[in-house]
Amino acid sequence: MAAEQLRYRPTVRTATPWALGVLLVAAALALQTQLYTGQARTVTAIFMYVALALSWNLIGGYTGYASFGQVVFFGIGGYFTAVAMTHLGWSFWVALVASGLFAACYGALVGIPLLRLRGHYFAIATLGMAEGTREIVTNLPELTGGGGGITLPTVGAAATTPYLGNDGFYVLFLALAAIALLVTGVISRSKFGFALRAIHQDEDAAAAIGINTTRTKVVTFALSGFLAGMVGSAYAFQQVTIYPERLFDVEITVLMVVMVVIGGSGTVIGPVIGAVALQFVSEWLRQNYTDIHTLLLGGIIILAVILLPQGLANYVREARRTGEYSLLANVRRYRL
């Protein structure tokens, strides 16, 4: 009993992150009233990437399994929603949750063989899995519309759920980002979260202290699939017409990874910082340097990886502990 009481005694120190999280969401809601339509769309996209980056962070950041096929959950969630709403006449809200569950099941199914691989092999096997899944979706035209895309019923008698509009999607993606933040926050402090960190540091040692590493990894992969699947579902509804090339775009995976690495992998707030910063910079470049914005983005990624390889959140944490603020110390860490 005593241990239980100790564990649940809230202090200012443990309550602050939760309060900050609530404040963040409240601030985002307040921001909505201050934005033009175009700006609101940009911010909605930021929320989407926050949720996606947090989903990648669970498997890639905490567990250390660099999934380069994370977009598969996004795509599968989107296509499950499209098929359920078009062919089965489901309501969007049912399809949203069902898409998450479907993506989670898919994650568990492919995770069981793939999570036996480590390092680069896992990265590329997941990449191949995502590309292969895209081809399967492309080659089932009766179900998915194939390469020509599929259009969700949003108007007329076929519409199962009225279209949400800009304001509705702003709140929906904010809610998804908040859920992902909450899930990450809870996991980060739980025994499960420490099991993930243990697997990241030394999988054999983790197994030796009694962690069922296979089950833990598969559950985490499925959970990150659940989050990304719901985001994909919402994205499909927002876009109305979806295509395999877009829903399974490798670039979305890479963006998730970049955001997590820049922000700080294996932290709760890192992916949020990374997603907001990168989306903001990317959008700014797109507007001011339309022709070369991807080129500049590549340069920024290279610089960020060299100067802040551990990510902003980890850099600040370590710098405060050791008093070493020099970015050159970061460069020294991983260079040959």
Partner: protein, 294 residues
């Protein structure tokens, strides 16, 4: 039956070329444990160099490919020496991201310099073909195939018989021990990457001669290189040759028997099956597995 034989012939010829695309990728991965996502961009850049010297100087692609090889060797050396070496000891997604950033830079740079239009290097002979027992053999592809095999064999000879090659192999096996023997690891890494980029440039010029390309082709070459490198075993150059042929065959036969774009999924299916059942590759053992982390 002739259709089947034609597909086999085409697959083998294409496979030899793919092997040359992948052999540098495999070398870099095997020696430095770096998965170079910008490899495909180097291939395409090589194709553009070959195209430029062909258009401006009228150089035949079989001469132009040496220009491409030298130019890309220099670029690759500089990139590894001054950029990738800075993060080479980091966790895997650090090097993956860095090379991805490089890929964005290169492909977008090429987009701006050469536009996104498909282009090809025109020759008088590449399009002609002759028949063997009813099977058409295109001359350009045959020459590219022979060249790929010769270059791969030459690369193995360089790696196993010269001081430079042996210092590369030694660094790949145990960097710490190699440094203690007086090998300059930074220089050797840069050399390795330069060689890989140079070979990619050669392969790119060949690809530009037998087909068309644009900057967006880069990603596809990187993925294929990956599949072939894993199939062949990391750093195993003959393995890359075998893996390339296998993938060429699988794709050609897939195109012959399957409809639609299912053929695109085949390479990945092969990849995942190999990863699950023979992660050290089809041919022998990957020598990287013997390496110690230093």
């Amino acid at each position: 039956m002739t259709g089947f034989l034609q597909a086999v012939a085409y697959g083998l010829l294409q496979g030899g070329l793919l092997a040359l695309v992948a052999v540098g990728f495999s070398l870099v991965w095997g020696v430095m444990n770096v998965v170079n996502l910008s490899h495909g961009a180097f291939v395409v850049l090589g194709a553009y160099v070959g195209l430029l010297v062909n258009q401006r100087l009228g150089l035949d692609p079989f001469l132009g490919m040496f220009v491409a090889a030298v130019a890309l060797f220099a670029l690759g050396y500089v990139v590894q020496r001054f950029v990738i070496n800075l993060v080479v000891n980091g966790p895997i997604f650090i090097t993956l991201l860095l090379t991805f950033g490089l890929e964005l830079l290169l492909t977008q740079g090429m987009n701006i310099a050469f536009t996104a239009n498909y282009q090809g290097i025109q020759t008088t002979y590449a399009g002609t073909s002759f028949a063997v027992a009813g099977v058409q053999i295109p001359v350009g592809r045959l020459l590219a195939f022979v060249l790929s095999v010769v270059v791969t064999v030459a690369l193995v000879a360089v790696m196993n018989r010269t001081r430079v090659g042996m210092s590369i192999m030694a660094t790949g096996m145990d960097r710490g021990a190699a440094r203690l023997m007086g090998i300059r690891a930074r220089h050797v890494y840069a050399l390795t990457f330069g060689i890989a980029a140079g070979l990619a440039g050669m392969a790119g010029t060949m690809i530009g001669m037998v087909g068309t390309f644009n900057p967006a082709s880069a990603g596809g070459f990187t993925l294929l290189s990956f599949v072939i490198a894993v199939l062949g075993g990391l750093g195993n150059m003959y393995g890359a040759l075998a893996g390339g042929m296998l993938i060429g065959l699988v794709q050609a036969l897939g195109g012959y028997f399957l409809s639609g774009t299912w053929v695109n999924a085949l390479a990945f299916l092969v990849l995942i099956l190999v990863l699950m059942f023979r992660p050290s590759g089809l041919v022998g053992k990957a020598f990287y597995s013997a390496r110690l982390e230093v």
